[in-house]
């Protein structure tokens, strides 16, 4: 029983990493709703956000089942504090610098993350956790569409005007170090990979490189040099930005517990 119990605990933690990343990214993207730089982009970002929140819903619902403490996806999304979230720090960073949103940040972040998801979902779709595999299988096409969308924008902005190039280069410099977190060792990932129920994300690094590098080159952007910077969101130690984001996301659900409409 103890083995099965700890296994489920690892399975729960693993699903939080996937589900929280999808949820937090979806929330950041949805902040553009009504503020997009063009109507088509506004609609596109709302749709991509919806994909992410849909993935999060399935993943967190499954996490709640595995945890066995009667927490459903809403309880996990709305009633946990920031230290309990396991998303990559990259995805919680604000949409801009200071008070001003910058589309380049959203585009570069979406691209760097989608370039991972297009490799992660097929790997998970083949794992021995059949419920997770079913969610992953459904997410593959979505990730491909997200990569196509953000990748095209990286090229359009990077290869666009001097201003768009400069702003995209700044966004890349700023965000790239946070991708180190994708590859850092994680006992939860390792335990599940050993059991055939997950993958070690670091094993996808060369596939990610092969996806990212040609796009940066097409966009005329230099890949920032490797750095030793290491964010730790997946371990629950976050930047100062997640708390305020969750405060906004969770306010309604906490003010009106169990509200239905």
């Amino acid at each position: 029983m103890s083995a099965a119990g700890s296994n489920d605990r690892a399975g729960f933690e693993h699903l939080l990493r996937l589900g929280d990343s999808a949820l937090v990214h979806g929330q950041r993207l949805s902040e553009w709703c009504g503020h997009g730089p063009a109507l088509e982009e506004d609609i596109a970002l709302a749709n991509i956000a919806l994909d992410c929140v849909g993935q999060a819903r399935l993943l967190l619902a499954l996490a709640g089942t595995r945890e066995g403490l009667n927490r459903d996806e809403d309880a996990l999304a709305y009633l946990r504090d920031e230290a309990a979230f396991r998303n990559y720090t990259l995805l919680e960073l604000p949409n801009g610098h200071g008070p001003r949103d910058d589309y380049a940040i959203t585009v570069v972040r979406g691209f760097l993350h989608a370039a991972l998801q297009v490799h992660l979902w097929p790997a998970l779709a083949a794992c021995a956790d059949h419920e997770l595999a079913a969610i992953a299988a459904r997410s593959i096409n979505e990730a491909r569409a997200h990569l196509r969308h953000f990748g095209q924008w990286v090229v359009r902005l990077g290869d666009g005007t001097d201003t768009s190039h400069a702003r995209t280069a700044v966004a890349l410099e700023r965000l790239f170090p946070y991708t180190n977190e994708f590859w850092s060792p994680d006992p939860v990932e390792a335990a599940l990979a050993d059991a055939g129920r997950g993958v070690v994300v670091a094993s996808l690094k060369s596939a990610w490189d092969h996806t990212v590098n040609p796009v940066l080159s097409e966009a005329g952007l230099s890949r920032p040099p490797d750095s030793r910077f290491m964010s730790t969101g997946k371990l629950g130690r976050h930047s100062e930005h997640l708390g305020p984001m969750l405060a906004e996301m969770q306010a309604l659900a906490r003010a009106h517990p169990g509200a239905r409409w």
């Binding site: 088509e40 919806l50 196509r148 969308h149 996806t211 080159s217």
Partner: protein, 189 residues
């Protein structure tokens, strides 16, 4: 009222099959291929649906509508179940469904069975004379963009993508270059 099991199943199936998609009301659940099974489990009629897109906001509305239809058909007790496995594909839309999409001015999705996961170059609009030497290297990276569908109104194959994300999660927005009409394209999934 007492129906035989087979009568109950047939009634439940008919009732569920005729429920319309809330976002594309000309299509029934049968047309969409999301009605995956109707069976009796311990006296209950269980209707199993496959959700279309992960985040399709219509899924809950569809479940409610199916419940109402089953109630009206007098087959209670019943349950409506959503099953992720096997994952729905737009290839499951029936021939009648594809025809109804066309009649509604929506281009039906291309068949995926032969092309899933393929990659191909994406066309960029570039400034002249830049980095020509790198173009070949960059050409293989992105997931395949869908070939443009023919116009559902004038059948011209000369159409162009306006926006990959359209009025609902399942549609892209295209424009016909022959008749100049914009139209929705049901994305292959």
């Amino acid at each position: 009222m007492s129906l035989s099991a087979s009568e109950r199943l047939a009634r439940a199936r008919d009732a569920a099959a005729q429920v319309c998609d809330p976002e594309i009301p000309s299509l029934s659940l049968e047309d969409l291929g999301i009605l995956r099974g109707v069976q009796i489990e311990a006296e209950r009629v269980v209707v199993t649906l496959a959700p279309t897109y992960t985040a399709c906001p219509a899924t809950e509305a569809i479940c409610d509508d199916v419940g109402a239809a089953l109630e009206a058909a007098g087959v209670a007790p019943f349950a409506v179940r959503v099953s992720l496995v096997p994952a729905w594909s737009s290839d499951w839309i029936t021939a009648a469904g594809r025809r109804k999409l066309l009649e509604a001015g929506i281009a039906p999705p291309a068949c995926l069975a032969s092309s899933a996961g393929a990659t191909a170059p994406v066309r960029f609009i570039r400034r002249e004379s830049e980095r020509e030497s790198e173009r070949a290297r960059a050409a293989t990276w992105l997931p395949r963009a869908e070939p443009a569908p023919p116009c559902p109104r004038c059948q011209s194959p000369q159409t162009e993508l306006l926006s990959e994300y359209g009025s609902t999660a399942c549609k892209s927005l295209y424009r016909c270059l022959a008749c100049a009409e914009p139209f929705d394209y049901f994305k292959p999934y």
